[in-house]
Amino acid sequence: MSATQGNCESLSARFLTTGLLVLVVVVFGGPFLWMLGSAFTSAETGPTFWPGVPSLNNFRIVFDDNQTGMALRNSVVIAAACTVLATLLASLGGYGLSRVMFPGKNVIVFGLLLLYAIPTAVTMVALFDLASRLALVNTYRGLILAQTAMSLPFLTWLMKSFYDKVPRTLDEAVTVDGRGILRAWLDVLTPVAKPGLAITAGLAFVLAWSEVLLTIILVSDPAKTTIARLFFVNVEQAAGSQVVAALGVLYLAPVLVVFLMLRGLISRHLARLRGSTA
């Protein structure tokens, strides 16, 4: 940011800009602070922004249930596996989708994305049926495969748009046979790897971590429950209570880590864009 540019703006305009930015920060960030505040407030005082006496009571109640720890562990395992699998397949498939050419390709891709309009609640009978035939009910395996499949159309399409940016000439020479394609994928992967893969992986994680209905459909074993489901069950009954806020903090924490990683990446990426046009 050059100093000369900053000076272009009049004082009042600068004031306005700052005011609007503060508004944005309050509207989008405030709710999280409020949840955090509530989570650390004991139930008697009611939800607040800033607990006078911070209390870990709500977290103690949450962890008194051994399901919470178990659910957190399950969620980490499932979301991590989904992230690896989905990123790998979306990256590979996205590459092919970017390079393969046939009439109506984009119509098919578009049609596939539209199928997201059919909610899991409706397809649950088919999903459960499939899962029981494939012995996937009450297994990590089942949740990982189904969740990965659910996010793949979107993630593959996202990866494809990254590969679309890479000139064909880079990989055309390499692709002579099947192995050549894999090598080309790896070669091409490198230049786009940083933003593309990381953003895809981050989204894959967030999607898997958030998923509720799939767990409800495919899991009845309490030992296989997830934090998303635990939160959903409790929020349906006592949204706004401080204990639910504490559970919400646990639900959000890993997503927050992903966020911190993504944030740096995206801002650097955007900064680079600006650098290239300056």
């Binding site: 635990l230 959903f232 006592a238």
Partner: protein, 468 residues
Amino acid sequence: MNDRFNCSREPHNPAGEVTQPVEWPLRMGRRSLLAGGVAIGSAAVLKNTLPVHAQDLTGTIQIGFDGADETVHPFVEATAEELASSNPDASLQVEASAGGSYATQLVLQLSRGQGPDVFLLSGVAVAELAESGLIAPLTRYVADWDDWEEYRDEFGATVTYAGDVWAIPYSMDTHFLYYRRDLFAGAGLPDPWNPDTPADILEAALAIKREYPEVIPYALYAGANGGNSTVVRGFVPLVHAFGGTLVDSEGLWIIDSCAIRDALSFYEQAYQIDQVVPQDVMTGASPTSAMRQAMGDGTLGILYDGSWTYQPWLENDPENTEANIGIALFPTDDDREPFAVGGTGNCWYINTSSEHPDLAWAFVEAFNARENQIALNLVDPHIPARSDAASDQSFQQTAFLSAIVASADVLLLTEPDPAFRELITIVQNATGIVATGEAEPVEAVERYASELTRVLGEDNVVRQTCSR
């Protein structure tokens, strides 16, 4: 989610909606209160009291129930152990389901010919499960079971459909009008309070509203957010109070009657005219648990709810509860006696696909032993389904418990009907539009009539003309 299976709106506790402490409805809250004391104690009682069963039962069965229902868990374990020890060749696996979607999971499994051999679920589902062919009729077992005599005829009728018995309840639901005595005293209202007519409820609520503008005078459930409570704790008692029924003596659903009109007018009076039920009662994320909490906190004047909701108040704050929460029966509009809305509580069902139904039945029999029903209904206050359990002296220990068993004589029960599920949505719609002021009661009655007719067909409904 499957709140239609619930008598309340606690999704993870389809039948035994009892276990929820007011503040923290997760199973975790319950444990600290019960695990050390009562529950384990009652399981110990079981050891000595269970009848010894035949020694020749074989096979392996799975016993399913909602894992969120912590009250029933030790009882299931104890019965299974007892039965297994007296039948060395039998294996009984207790399978607590993950909280939150027990009914969904169960129904998905049943529909694929899987699922536990014997399972607990609310009695609300009897007719639909029977029609779906997913559960086995128990008539032949009941015929050989002497203890069935201990079930009142009207209790048995709530699990009988198309001539067969389909489920065995261990408890029956009953309801009270709970009122805050501290607020009543402050508003100059009588204590004990025994309203003569439904209008008295509104009058008391108005008095509270005048004296305490900051509290919620009355929680009358309406609309979709109330789940099943809108029907069971809102519309049904009102229709009965105004002298009507939902189904006539020939089994036709009544689409219009003076009582239905009066009930919906009562909603208008409560929500729109007197405004003693603030709109936000129905718009919170979880109205039933919020209102239970408010009653315990003393920020709600009057609430119609199940007998089991009293237990968490008592456990959280015994002194305050005994001093400040009063109970009354629901009044009628004329000189008929006051009543309590009843319902079939938790029932045991046997899966059609079970390979060992005899063993499953032996479990059901053992679970429903008299002592077991007494112990279970003491920790989780309901009317024991067996009369010889309800008449036990331990239910005379407190005024509240004796009121529960006494209400068995004035219980308003509905026989199983697969249309009940459709009724829930229809009642939610009719009461919802009146409560929000979107429609007049007359329009809501028309709405009720046309939706019932559309769903059930012209031949299954009847209009009772109301000359008023």
